[in-house]
């Protein structure tokens, strides 16, 4: 019904990506993702895709896990691959009941898809190779505003609690013969179940606040986490950022 987030399931493996300092990793890959999604043509995008795949391989994440996380983007990209070829004007490939498929359109559709897929692939070496709480702590070290850091921390923690809670409510409904259909009765009933979830979460929020206060919370919890940049981290981050920038700069020279 509802599943746990398991993005950091394989964060305890060992690979160059796992050893990469989390702060440097976040910055370098974010820049690379921005770089790739803004690439103007298919050739460059394919280079980006290739690089993304290499990073994924370097992360040693199991293929099945990777595919599970990547598959969603296809759902979003498919309409583009199908529709673009018929809506972008250009050189005709073939015509079909008045629909014209163009070369430019096809290329554009594929470009969008390649950029989207590369970006999703890169999220894995960036996020899935670090325990998620450490990623949040890295964001804190990178000066993300404290209020947002706290929200990430607590929200992430309580997602797990509520997944379990909602699963139980859902099972209790099923145990009394409820079946999920798309009719008004079922939807209203789901509304009530969700209402229950929200009421409980609100009450839990109050208790959590009380528990926080009981442990001296004054609005800005800190954590103990030691990050240490090694020479290798600088080199790796420098290389990735350099690559990201050169994807945009080198073609300028090649064209001129």
């Amino acid at each position: 019904m509802v599943e746990y987030p398991e993005i950091d399931r394989y964060s305890s493996l060992d690979s160059p990506m796992h050893r990469f300092d989390p702060r440097a990793k976040l910055i370098a890959f974010t820049i690379l993702i921005f770089s790739i999604v803004l690439l103007p043509n298919l050739k460059l995008a394919l280079i980006g895709l290739l690089a993304s795949i290499l990073f994924l391989i370097a992360s040693k994440l199991p293929l099945r896990f990777a595919l599970q996380h990547i598959k969603w983007v296809f759902l979003f990209v498919v309409p583009f691959i199908i529709i673009m070829p018929f809506t972008v004007n250009g050189t005709e490939i073939f015509s079909f009941y008045g629909l014209t498929m163009t070369y430019e359109g096809l290329e554009y559709g594929i470009l969008v898809a390649v950029r989207a897929i590369s970006a999703v692939i890169l999220v894995l070496p960036m996020i899935a190779t670090t325990r998620f709480d450490i990623t949040i702590k890295a964001l804190a070290k990178l000066k993300m505003p404290n209020m947002l850091v706290q929200m990430f921390m607590f929200t992430y923690r309580y997602i797990f609690v509520f997944v379990v809670e909602f699963q139980r409510t859902w099972r209790a409904m099923a145990a009394r013969g409820f079946k999920l259909k798309t009719n008004v009765y079922a939807l209203k009933t789901i509304g009530k179940a969700l209402g229950t979830l929200f009421v409980r979460s609100y009450e839990r929020g109050e208790r959590v606040y009380q528990a926080l206060r009981s442990r001296g919370y004054t609005g800005s919890p800190k954590t103990l986490v030691v990050f240490k940049m090694h020479v290798l981290d600088y080199i790796l981050a420098g290389t990735i950022i350099g690559f990201a920038v050169s994807l945009h700069i080198i073609p300028l020279y090649l064209h001129s």
Partner: protein, 307 residues
Amino acid sequence: MKREAITVRNLSYSYPDGTKALEDVNLEVYEGERIALVGPNGAGKTTFMLHLNGTLRGTEGQVEIFGKSVDTMRREEIVKEVGLVFQDPDDQLFMPTLFDDIAFGPINQGLKEYEVRERVEKAISSLGLSGYEDRSPHHLSFGEKKKASLAAVIAMEPRILVLDEPTANLDPRSRTELIGIINELNEREGITMVIATHDVNAIPELADRIYALNRTIIETGTPHEIFFDGKLLKQNNLDVPDVFKLFEVLRCFGFNCEKLPLSLDEAISGLTTVIETEGGHIHLHIHEHTHEGVKEWRNKYGHHVPK
């Protein structure tokens, strides 16, 4: 021999994340029996119970209810046979009023309105909740919520009731009340009961037979058989009722009886019988093995309190 109400064969289950919660579980419950399911935290009691009404489906093995496999039964059929009461009543009470909540099951069963009303009324009155129909479950006390969640399930008139930790977090009076209600449902309506509990002192009053579960079924037997098996108990983080422990102590002082009592009522009748058969009195004294016996007894339960 009575009919089998629940038959479980070689049931195994792993959660999607790989946790092996159940492994090769075999069990049978006869019609009208009251079964206690005991086992340490994380033993798989809750997981097992979710299989009894098909909420979870084993990766292997099968579950039969009155001879029919749950795999082949339709949801409505299973739900009519097996009522599941969850540990945390808040998981189960999700309608804005108690009436709506209790009516939820019967409505899903497709009953007519007057039948639904009848069912709700009966369930409410048998749990002593009359007058609470329009209250919101969120505003009830914990004990009332527990009763309400039981009412919501018995309104569906299942032949089997599965209860997850019915006495947890209840104050003593509510606990006694709930035990009384459960036994009454068993006696009056003949409902078969499966009860997971950590409350060992309640077991003698609540169960005819115990299954000890720790991922797989370790042992089954009457409360007397199970509570006598010190090794089994120790290996599975289990405990025995205090009354039983005390009579073990009394035995060290020379009290002589065949069957150690588990509950207070058994203790009274036990004492009476022994006194009658032993010619009017029982003699307690310190004999040569008393201190040794007490020491052994302490070891058995790992009592930490210094003498």
